[in-house]
Symmetry: C2
Subunit: 182 residues, 2 copies
Amino acid sequence: MSSARLTETSYIVLGLLEQIGPATPYDLKRMAQVSTINFWNVPHTQLYTECARLAQQDLLNEEREETGRRRRIYSLTGLGRRALEDWRSEPTEQLDEVRDVGILKLFFGGDPAKLAGAQLEAHGRQLEACEQLLEQLDANGTDVPRGWRLALEAGMGHEREFVRFWSGLSGVGFDQAAAGSA
Amino acid sequence: MSSARLTETSYIVLGLLEQIGPATPYDLKRMAQVSTINFWNVPHTQLYTECARLAQQDLLNEEREETGRRRRIYSLTGLGRRALEDWRSEPTEQLDEVRDVGILKLFFGGDPAKLAGAQLEAHGRQLEACEQLLEQLDANGTDVPRGWRLALEAGMGHEREFVRFWSGLSGVGFDQAAAGSA
DNA sequence: CCTATCATGTAATCCGTTACATGATTAT
DNA sequence: ATAATCATGTAACGGATTACATGATAGG
């Protein structure tokens, strides 16, 4: 009913619910941890509030367990399903920024070599984690959605690009970094 | 005085002020448009409020024009300069996500080929804009800070990676995208 | 002189983060 | 049983986006 705008977080909730069916916010959290977490993390508290918000707009159905914990269980309504489909089927030209604190420090005069050391370390670990996740996906065979794999590969591409970029700076001192093209 | 935490936006303001000296928020906006804007945009209204906030913490000095518009002019205090230096000289292992709506749609089942079309278009334009900016930087020769160029090159690397990724999907229909490794 | 656009700012709203808190479940 | 960790949430706060609004400047 209320016409508050839908954010990316909204679509993450709608999309996850479409894939697993009725679930609690906590279920969504666990699911996100092995899927979107690599490129779009959403803290668990937001999943609770976002589910409630979407329910208010009749995009989700909300039920409560009769017994015990009385957890809230959410599922897509027809309206929610349509909102998701509309969003998904509309290609976007939106360009999102690669907001990276390491690059920001570099921009404002941080020491390239020192930054590169820390960043290479971190991105290397991240890349390994991605590779492990990829293996898991492969192990599960065909029942993992196409998009999961594609998004993971996209993320890994950027990780490799980060590694490439920082590698070029890792041996470079303060002075040499200034040198332009030969 | 008040001990509110400093955000990346704070450091952008501090950093820009270090480079141009005393300036109004509007000056900062114009400066950002030819420098950080490519990888970290900050809306102009935030520059006004952020300057005020930093002044309250004694990180910036605030003066007002005597005449006419009575614009506020900000400059770094010693405290501000030190805060910037501390932040900048501390390498970070922080990994920021590449939150991209196109990838998100892909993840949730958007059509790879359709998305690729729109995304290639947009990223292609962006890459061109980067190249033009790079030429401008080169034209200005040596008085453009080292970090500007490095950050721009980092951004361009990611743009090229986007192009590479979506290119791989542009000819792919709904069905073929499912095919794994041979 | 009138209009349009640029310049400059304020205020409200809302999302997202952080802090906190308690009920289950498992391990020892 | 008790401690520790996992599960499940609520509430406060603050930064960021959006909407609005008015004063200068330039073009016609």
